[in-house]
């Protein structure tokens, strides 16, 4: 049969002006919303006023500079993104459906976050997303499904087309910036005439209005360049590029639909430019800038209470590390570990005992507290090594067991460890736990359990290192051996994978990261006690991995954040709202209490996680953000598109099935 490439790789230049309007509106609304309805404008004005007269500003110069860098990165990225998206857009996606997506996925969450704060806003947004998906799937299924039109062959971009795309990108950047500059000018003038804008800033307004279009021109060009780096070219002059292009085309033609969809994300123009790999880089830049400068931005964005929020995010961070560590054991190697909390407990206790007076009491060696704090850095490694050692000790005798027996043994281990810490009170101070655990020390940083900012940055660094290690492990020979074991132990062993050694490495690496998280946890809390580590915690860690997507690194990070938010924040927040007569939760709460006296949202934590675990396993076993491999395993046809910006035709149409078999 003639090879048909599905609709996802497409071309056919639409009308440039239409594209500009389409993407211009899609990007302008959120950015204007951020600038004027939220804090963008405030941050800029504060930064300029503060830098002009440092004495009169509420903020110190370093944080103003940080805020300035963030603002620059933000707007520059958005401008470049506009160029990229216009160049990468195939014109197949209809304008209205794109705007609907932007509304649901960007504007509504932005609005909810502005009104409700970050976590609660995202939670409400998540509910709306779920509803949106349900409705959209209904609509798709209700419509008589027309098979997606197929493109006969890949269309390759020639020089002429490339230059067309480039000129579009530049036009997009320029016009987008110009319109934004004009809108800002108008708004600022209104502010000025109503007396809300200090006259000093008028100079800035003028500079900005002139500068923005120029910046837009160059950044649009930059976006276009980024887009065109990944174009399949078809040049007629016989140089090596032609071979490359044709090869690529042939390669793509023999892929299955699912693989093709993945590969096509790299190709420009793209059916789903918002989900293409290039666009994802822009999101990463935005995310990195936001996370990096968050402590400075927080007071601008969410007002008072920064310290409490930062401390909360610091806690969320060790959930992320635990999720990544457990993901190695459960996700990569497929060994169900129900006692992961044991390694976390061991890590906590190692630094807890060493980093407090307990060490002096036990050994009689007195260490200068300043030195002790500085010893945190080497001790993180030592702690993690000790945890890894216990991982090996537990693993060595038990790894011969089949999967579900292993689960029970690890569960037993997870139960034993806290009991040991509880009952060996000579060393661990028993049920009272250890108090006065020291925070790390770093030159020039004031660091204690009452300063959340250093802990925030510490956990960022730790997370970055752990993610890096995870990616390297996943892509290493060892990582492939893990996956092989997960898929089929006997086949893996037959292919020369040393089962025991490979599994031991999985256990040890998982335990290692739990040890890192434990040391951080003990230092941040300033203490440890045995009741912090129970089977319930192990289950919560498992929930993070399952919800996020077993084996997927970005997935488990999101899973950890979701679980943290539900566990530590949302349920408590709902309880506060429930007793507030003016909230919408209040009548619902009252109705429930009529039936179930003693109901509180904090009480149903396990119920929520239980329902989530069951529904995820039954309806979306690959998790929120599945790893590519698992997605392919579980959905042979095209992905069902639960991610941003997907308006793919419904999957499973007959010609796609046919293509599968061709492969």
């Amino acid at each position: 049969m003639s090879m048909q490439i599905s609709s996802r790789i497409l071309r056919l230049p639409g009308d440039t002006r239409q594209l500009l309007v389409k993407w211009g509106v899609a990007l302008l609304v959120p950015i204007v919303m951020f600038t004027f309805a939220w804090s963008g404008e405030t941050i800029v004005n504060q930064v300029i006023l503060g830098l002009l007269s440092p004495a009169s500003s509420n903020y110190d110069t370093p944080s103003l500079i940080q805020a300035a860098i963030f603002i620059l990165v933000l707007y520059a990225t958005v401008l470049a993104l506009s160029g990229y998206l216009v160049a990468a857009d195939s014109g197949r996606r209809k304008t209205l459906s794109l705007w609907l997506d932007i509304l649901v996925f960007v504007i509504v969450p932005l609005f909810l976050v502005i009104t409700n704060g970050l976590i609660l806003g995202m939670a409400f947004a998540a509910i709306i997303w779920v509803l949106f998906f349900v409705v959209r799937n209904r609509v798709f299924h209700a419509k008589p499904s027309a098979a997606p039109t197929s493109v006969e062959s890949l269309m390759l971009s020639d020089v002429e087309q490339k230059s067309l795309l480039m000129s579009r990108a530049i036009a997009a950047g320029f016009w987008f910036a110009t319109v934004f500059a004009v809108i800002s000018l108008v708004v600022d003038l209104i502010f000025f005439f109503t007396g809300q804008l200090p006259p000093v800033l008028l100079i800035w307004v003028v500079v900005r209005t002139l500068l923005l279009p120029v910046a837009g021109y160059f950044l649009g060009r930059l976006g276009g360049l980024i887009a065109l780096r990944r174009v399949i070219s078809n040049q007629q002059n016989g140089n090596s590029e032609e071979v490359g292009g044709v090869d690529k085309e042939k390669q793509l033609q023999v892929l299955s639909t699912t693989r093709l969809a993945e590969e096509a994300r790299d190709i420009v123009p793209n059916d789903l430019p918002l989900r293409s790999r290039g666009a994802q880089r822009f999101y990463l830049i935005l995310l990195a800038a936001f996370v990096l400068f968050y402590p400075v931005l927080d007071p601008f964005l969410f007002g008072s209470g920064t310290a409490g929020r930062l401390s909360g995010y610091g806690d969320a961070g060790y959930y992320v590390i635990l999720a990544l560590g457990l993901n190695i054991v459960v996700g990569f190697a497929g060994l169900l570990d129900l006692g992961y909390v044991a390694f976390f407990a061991i890590g906590s206790y190692v630094w807890g005992i060493f980093g407090s007076n307990q060490f002096n009491i036990l050994t009689g060696i007195a260490i200068n507290p300043q030195v002790l704090s500085a010893l945190f850095w080497p001790m993180v490694i030592v702690t993690a090594m000790i945890a890894a050692l216990f991982g090996v000790l537990l693993g060595a005798p038990t790894l011969r067991l089949r999967g579900d027996y292993l689960a029970i043994v690890t569960l037993g281990f997870g139960e034993i460890v806290p009991i040991v810490f509880l009952e060996l009170d000579k060393y661990t101070n028993g049920a009272n736990g250890i108090v006065g655990v020291r925070s790390p020390a770093f030159p020039g940083v004031e660091w204690s359990t009452f300063t959340p900012v250093p802990f925030y940055y510490l956990i960022l660094v730790l997370i970055a290192l752990v993610i890096f290690a995870n990616i390297r492990l996943r892509d290493s020979r060892l990582g492939r051996a893990w996956v092989a074991i997960r898929e089929d132990e006997i086949a893996a062993a037959s292919s020369g994978v040393n089962l025991v050694q490979t599994k031991l490495f999985a256990f040890a690496s998982g335990a290692f990261f739990a040890g890192v998280a434990g040391a951080y946890h003990a230092a941040k809390l300033g203490g440890v006690s045995p009741d912090l580590f129970s089977f319930g915690d192990s289950v919560i860690y498992l929930a993070m991995v399952v919800i996020g997507g077993i084996g997927s690194i970005p997935g488990v990070i999101v899973g950890a954040l979701v679980v943290y938010s539900i566990n530590e924040f949302i349920l408590a927040q709902l309880d506060t709202l429930a007793v507030d007569p003016s909230s919408i939760i209040h009548p619902i709460y009252n109705a429930i209490v009529q039936v179930v006296p003693g109901f509180t949202f904090g009480n149903i934590r396990n119920l929520v996680f239980g329902i989530v675990l069951v529904t995820v396993m039954i309806f979306r076993p690959e998790g929120l953000i599945p790893s590519a491999r698992r997605r392919r395993e579980l959905h042979h046809t095209a992905a069902d598109g639960a991610e941003m910006g997907s308006l793919d035709p419904p999957s499973g149409s007959s010609d796609m099935e046919a293509e599968m078999h061709v492969e």
């Binding site: 459960v330 497929g334 169900l336 129900l338 005798p397 038990t398 011969r400 067991l401 089949r402 999967g403 579900d404 027996y405 689960a407 029970i408 043994v409 569960l411 037993g412 281990f413 139960e415 034993i416 009991i419 040991v420 509880l422 009952e423 060996l424 009170d425 000579k426 132990e489 006997i490 089977f535 289950v539 498992l542 399952v546 077993i550 179930v596 003693g598 109901f599 009480n603 149903i604 934590r605 396990n606 119920l607 996680f609 239980g610 329902i611 989530v612 675990l613 069951v614 396993m617 039954i618 076993p621």
Partner: protein, 312 residues
């Protein structure tokens, strides 16, 4: 010596309860190779249901029914709890396990954990977070053999458990359905080819196993006089250990394992504080789990189980 014998009595009657719960684990594992994590919580729901049934008849902690009324009440509470739990087990299987029959092994295990969490919180919302007292309607008399005291409740618990276990053994070995169950456990596909309705047999297995957990919930209440929402997970783990100790998939093994675990737990309290800090009592969980780990490491098939080579 008296102390040892005394602990033997305690061990036998708690062991009987463990054995009843362990049977549910072992039956389900034997048939679909799933560790039914929710089983312990079904047991917990069973003990709460018994209290609720007593409540319907206006029985509270102070009531002292006599004669026929007593026997009738106990029967109604026990059978009611069994029936409710049995249906609960079937519903759980239908919702959480059946859709995943052909999924990777981890999947149903994770839903089982999820169901366990759900049941636990239902118990918590229903009866609160503290101990719930269980009406002690069975007249408690203490008999002495030498210096060893045996209470009437201990005897009742042991007798009920043994009767149920014998009934189960007869059911599985003598009836047509029991034969079908054994066939499905041996080879699901072959059984299906021989005309066994596999789904129905699995449902029946859950029905019986969960029913036994309901009975265990009832006699647990009689024995200890109180129950709590979190007991399910804890006792479930112990019972699972018992099932593994006896050889999972093996009914007689589960009974034997339950009694043995009960005895280990009882004798553990005799360990003096010179060996373990604070004596053996606070350590008994750790000891049980250590036993579990040791068995799994050195004899994964348990005491009575058969070594099954890994199927390719």
């Amino acid at each position: 010596m008296t102390l040892l014998l005394q602990e033997l009595v305690v061990g036998l009657s708690t062991g009987a309860i463990y054995a009843l719960i362990a049977l549910g684990y072992t039956m389900v594992y034997g048939i679909i190779e799933l560790i039914n994590f929710a089983h312990g919580d079904v047991f917990m729901i069973g003990s709460l249901i018994s209290i609720a049934i007593f409540g319907v008849f206006g029985i509270n902690a102070a009531s002292q029914p006599q004669g026929l009324a007593l026997v009738g009440l106990m029967l109604v509470a026990c059978l009611g709890s069994m029936l409710f739990c049995a249906l609960l087990g079937v519903v759980i299987e239908r919702i959480a396990y059946r859709p995943l029959r052909n999924a990777p092994r981890l999947a149903p295990l994770i839903t089982a954990i999820g169901v366990s969490l759900i049941l636990e919180d239902i118990g918590k919302l229903w009866k609160g977070v503290s101990n719930v007292s269980f009406p002690q309607i069975f007249p408690s008399t203490t008999y002495y053999i030498g210096d060893v005291s045996i209470s009437s409740v201990n005897i009742l618990v042991f007798v009920v458990a043994v009767v149920l276990m014998i009934a189960l053994q007869l059911f599985v070995s003598r009836t047509r359905t029991g034969r079908a169950m054994r066939a499905v456990a041996q080879d699901r596909e072959a059984a299906a080819l021989m005309g066994v309705n596999v789904d129905r047999i699995i449902s029946i297995t859950f029905f019986i196993g969960s029913g036994l957990a309901g009975a265990a919930g009832f006699i647990y209440g009689l024995q200890y006089g109180s129950t709590i929402f979190s007991i399910g997970l804890y006792l479930g783990l112990i019972a699972f250990t018992a099932a593994v100790l006896g050889g999972i998939g093996n009914l007689v093994g589960a009974m034997l394992g339950g009694i043995l675990i009960g005895l280990i737990e009882a004798f553990a309290t005799l360990i003096p504080s010179s060996i373990l800090p604070h004596g053996g009592a606070p350590w008994h969980d750790a000891i049980i789990f250590a036993v579990l780990i040791l068995i799994l490491v050195f004899r994964p098939s348990g005491l009575l189980g058969q070594q099954t080579p890994e199927k390719v």
